[in-house]
Amino acid sequence: MYSECRSHFTRALRITVVLMLVAGCEREERQLDPPPVKPDPRAQAAALSDFQPGKQGPGMRMLAAAGGYHEQSAYEVAQGKQLYRWFNCVGCHAQGGGAIGPALMDDNWLYGKSADAIFTSIVEGRPNGMPAFRGRIPEQQVWQLVAYVRSMSGLVPSGAEPNRSEGLLGAPPENLRDAQRPDEKH
């Protein structure tokens, strides 16, 4: 009687474990050929200057809601990490600690920590030096950069944070850093 009970328990345990593993399969599904996203008309408009301060408008929020932004996907965040170096964000923001540009791994946000605010900062530029990358970085890649910038201060789900780098890195991996929880007032 006891052993029968025990075997039932073992079987139930095995089934549960398998179900949990199967549920994990879909977590990192990667869409290799995403349907083409129409480019943001604002990204097409001629810039007044390369250093034009931007405003966070409803348009950007709609874009984020339209599905270009995936911060749950480890792939998208890792791509953002690669682009962060390829596009020389390192030149001003260093590895996130900041240099002539502000730090990105702390909890201070001059223009907001939401995805659409960061998107606006990259696309429109900000006063005192942040260039506008409007028309230069394709929108999908801007969203990947946004996800990576947010991951530096622990704002994306911890399972999606990048771990090690392929190149030399001046800071510990993102998923080993203490999460900086920015104040709501910023």
């Binding site: 290799l32 050929d33 995403p34 083409p36 129409k38 480019p39 791509q79 690669q82 390829w86 596009f87 028309g135 230069r136 970085i137 394709p138 999908q140 890649q141 392929e166 190149g167 030399l168």
Partner: protein, 316 residues
């Protein structure tokens, strides 16, 4: 496979010799084992039909023992021969004379090859991508590096494999004696497009190679046609220049392949034929030809695309 057996240089010839020796020995062993097994099966059948003796005679046991000892000794001998042949091949590979060698630095990326021809004079250095031109009869030292994951360099007709490791430079040396086109597939699984990561290897007579190298040292010429000029403007003001470089323009990023002489290449992205139609398709949606590639999709107006293609077509 057949490329390994059609060597175009001394290194591949050594490897091919070793391969034939191994094939001969292994074929001999295979046939011998098959024959022995066949004999045993036949004898066993005969024995059961005549009712097997309770205990084998001592003389029979002795004979079997001799056979086993002989077979074991022969196996040892063959293994020692193979071991000796491998060591000798390795020595021969390491003894390629390297006087006046051409030094090429190859960096593997997901999923393309960055190729830099080094020179003692820095201004004579130049760069290309996904193609490796070599002079015949002159040794080549290839420095191997990887930027993301482990790849492997292998020109079956010219040289054996060597891995490209991120953060560690390795070298391989070989010589191409026969002019011709060779294929160099990436030989270490490196991700989604591993199968489509090939390097076009072309061995040319020294004079033609020098002409090719001189042409590739030159920066891109300024186009005269207004449409081509517009194409160049689009290239350097849009997103192309964030990853690609064209010598002679302000585009000098190194994250993607160098495009200074892109129109002279046989293939685009190592899978597509180098035609304007294929190029337009590649720019519009690279994920169709190479799912997973790092190149993003670009939405260009018709006129802009035509101008860009016209300009890229001038980069010979």
């Amino acid at each position: 496979m057949s490329e390994v057996l059609a060597p175009g240089g001394p290194q591949a010839a050594h490897i091919a010799q070793l391969w034939w020796l191994m094939l001969a020995i292994c074929a001999f062993v295979f046939i011998a084992v098959t024959l022995a097994l066949g004999c045993a099966v036949l004898r066993a059948r005969r024995a059961t039909s005549e009712t097997a003796p309770e205990s084998p005679s001592t003389s029979g046991e002795k004979r079997v023992g001799l056979w086993v000892k002989a077979a074991a000794a022969l196996s040892m001998l063959l293994l020692v021969i193979l071991l000796g042949a491998s060591v000798m091949t390795d020595r021969a590979l390491a003894r390629l004379p390297l006087d006046d060698a051409l030094v090429v630095h190859v960096t593997a990326n997901q999923w393309w090859w960055d190729v830099v021809y080094e020179d003692a004079q820095p201004d004579r250095e130049f760069r290309t991508a996904n193609e490796l031109y070599l002079p015949t009869g002159r040794p080549v030292i290839v420095k191997l590096d990887a930027r993301d994951v482990i790849h492997s360099f292998w020109i079956p007709s010219l040289t054996g494999k060597k891995d490209l490791l991120p953060g560690r430079t390795t070298t391989i040396q070989f010589r191409a004696d026969k002019a011709g086109e060779y294929r160099a597939p990436c030989a270490e699984f490196c991700g989604l497009q591993h199968a489509f990561m090939t390097l076009d290897v072309v061995a040319l007579a020294p004079a033609s190679f020098d002409a090719w190298a001189d042409a590739h040292r030159a920066p891109a010429a300024t186009p005269s046609d207004p449409m081509e000029l517009r194409g160049r403007e689009l290239f350097v003001s849009g997103s192309c220049m964030l990853c690609h470089a064209i010598l002679g323009t302000s585009a000098n990023a190194r994250s993607g392949p160098d495009l200074t002489h892109v129109a002279s290449r046989a293939h685009l992205a190592s899978v597509l034929p180098n035609t304007p139609v294929a190029l337009a398709a590649w720019i519009t949606d690279p994920q169709v030809a190479k799912p997973g590639a790092n190149m993003p999709a670009h939405f260009l107006a018709d006129a802009d695309m035509r101008a860009l293609l016209a300009y890229l077509g001038t980069l010979r």
